[in-house]
């Protein structure tokens, strides 16, 4: 068994992928957005509510692969209860970090470091990025509507 592959599908990834946290469509939500990856058919729906300046009840549903689901699980953990003004920056940084395989644990949770492996599997980058891109779109929409 090939090392790189084992690094990709390490314990954290498998756990978050097969049993993602914050998974499911909440009964109440204010904001939602669907993301779709035409190339492989991955799909995610992101949900959250806004309470004052925080985003809460961050959750998602996905028919994607392990990578996509793990990424969604880790993302919702990361972003839930964050201040609105910090969320966009976090997403930006995470996306750049996933791209370059250099997410740092002084900024993100330790678990999120598992996404640093994706860089070696460029065809899977889209899977990992899809939840983040969708969340970013949702936040931009929300801000635009608020204007």
């Amino acid at each position: 068994m090939n090392m790189e592959l084992q690094n990709l599908y390490q314990k954290t990834m498998i756990q978050h992928g097969n049993n993602p946290l914050n998974f499911g469509k909440p009964q109440e939500y204010e904001h939602t957005e669907e993301g779709f990856n035409a190339l492989c058919g991955d799909k995610v729906n992101i949900y959250f509510r806004r309470m004052e300046n925080k985003l809460i009840n961050f959750s998602f549903v996905s028919v994607g692969c392990i990578v996509c689901k793990a990424s969604g699980s880790l993302m919702t953990e990361e972003l839930n209860n964050k201040h609105l003004e910090n969320v966009a920056t976090s997403i930006d940084n995470a996306m750049i970090g996933i791209h370059n395989g250099n997410l740092k644990n002084d900024f993100f949770s330790n678990d999120l470091m598992t996404l640093n492996q994706i860089k070696k599997f460029p065809s899977r980058l889209k899977c990992a990025l899809l939840p983040w891109e969708t969340a970013m779109r949702l936040i931009n929409n929300m801000k635009n509507n608020a204007r």
Binding site: I14, G17, N18, D42, I66
Partner: protein, 411 residues
């Protein structure tokens, strides 16, 4: 040298005709099981393209000089080879296009003026997007209705239901010869006869049938037959639309420009005769020549022998896959081609694809451009192995082993 005039089908020799097969991916020998997406090219085809550019290239049809005559002769000789290969009545019935998608778009677009709002167009649940969206758009433009003939759980067309759908308002039945996802081979000859009784024209999407069985358009009596060169061991960027001569004559032209006209003034334009009426602009000369060479190659190693080898590998693979407990085959048609789709319980196809690739195995995962079919089976996608005559049973063993690993790893 291409391995021509082989008396027996020597797969080791034949694999040597395909330079790409001799390489390692992630440290393992390449196992190319993605032939339904695109086939690999024999050396003979690659060399023909090279030789054309090194010796004979020029624009076609309009030159008095030798290079132009040579290029034109080579280009038209390829048209003749295609016509003979599918037993068309004449070279006028062979339109060179960019590929299957282009061929189907040509027909759907050129029919616009002859379709009424009360007309119906019938397709099937198992069509590729390329044989769905052009018809949706034709319906949108004309007000006609799109009807979809259903399939059963095995992935076979329900012929009775199809028959019920066909009526005097049906203008076109567009269906695939072989499903690129299920491997189903449709009984198109019977279906064409049925449609013709109601005066319905039939377009066959032959993208997955060409090169995997003998095609005789006169015997099938289809009105249109579309396929891509790149799935027939030929170059990218070339395809064919076969059409019956009188139907092609009736069709409006598709694209406009050089080659397809006889006479242009600013007030009026007279179109050229077949097949040029449908070939606007400088054609893909090199790729047409490459496609002719690909046909020559297949004939040299014998199509029937190729199909036999593909069937052996397919049967073997089906047997081995059925032994794996958590695998579900998507498509169990009796009459099937060398395409096998399946899902693995609780594991997303995409993850399987990555693990297979890590062991050098090239397979496609996803919706295979048949999203409505995915909706029918309520799955996000499948894992697909599609074989060619250069594939072997021992390659199948590698695939099965890799699938087992994947299940252990991700389960």
């Amino acid at each position: 040298m291409p391995s021509s005039n082989k008396n027996i089908f020597n797969i080791d020799e034949i694999r040597k005709d395909f330079p790409i097969l001799d390489q390692e991916i992630n440290g393992a020998p390449l196992i190319y099981f993605d032939n339904a997406a695109s086939t690999q090219k024999p050396k003979a085809v690659i060399d023909a393209i090279k030789s054309y550019y090194e010796n004979d290239h020029s624009n076609v049809h309009r030159g008095v000089h030798s290079l132009s005559i040579r290029a034109t002769d080579l280009y038209e000789a390829s048209r003749k080879k295609v016509a003979d290969y599918i037993n068309a009545n004449s070279t006028d019935e062979i339109i060179f296009t960019k590929g299957t998608t282009d061929s189907i778009n040509l027909v759907a677009s050129s029919l616009t003026k002859s379709i009424q709002p009360s007309d119906e167009i019938v397709i099937t649940t198992m069509e590729h997007h390329s044989n769905i969206v052009p018809w949706q758009e034709l319906c949108r433009r004309t007000g006609a209705s799109l009807k979809v003939a259903p399939i059963d759980d095995n992935g076979e067309l329900i012929i009775d239901e199809l028959e019920r759908l066909l009526c005097k308002d049906t203008k076109i039945l567009a269906l695939t010869h072989t499903s690129n996802t299920l491997g189903t081979i449709n009984p198109i000859k019977e279906i064409i006869t049925m449609a013709h009784h109601l005066n319905i024209k039939v377009l066959i999407d032959g993208a997955q049938a060409i090169g995997h069985q003998n095609i005789d358009v006169q015997d099938l009596d289809c009105d249109f037959y579309a396929f891509s060169g790149h799935k027939l061991y030929g170059p990218t960027g070339i395809g064919v639309l076969y059409g019956k001569e009188d139907l092609l004559n009736e069709l409006e032209p598709y694209q406009f420009g050089g080659e397809m006209i006889l006479k242009v003034t600013f007030d009026e334009t007279t179109y050229n005769s077949l097949p040029y009426k449908f070939e606007a602009g400088t054609p893909n000369i090199a790729a047409a020549i490459g496609l002719g060479k690909a046909i020559e190659y297949i004939e040299s190693i014998n199509l029937n022998a190729c199909v036999k080898q593909e069937n052996v590998v397919t049967e073997y693979s089906l047997k081995k896959l059925k032994d794996l407990s958590n695998i579900k085959l998507i498509g169990n048609s009796e009459n099937r081609s060398s395409i096998i789709s399946f899902t693995i319980e609780n594991i997303h196809p995409h993850d399987i694809g990555t693990i297979l690739n890590q062991r050098g195995i090239a397979m496609r995962t996803g919706h295979h451009c048949t999203m409505p079919l995915m909706d029918f089976y309520e799955i996000p996608g499948t894992i697909r192995a599609s074989f060619s005559f250069y594939n072997t049973e021992s390659e199948v063993d590698e695939m099965v082993a890799a699938l087992q690993t994947a299940c252990e790893m991700l389960g």
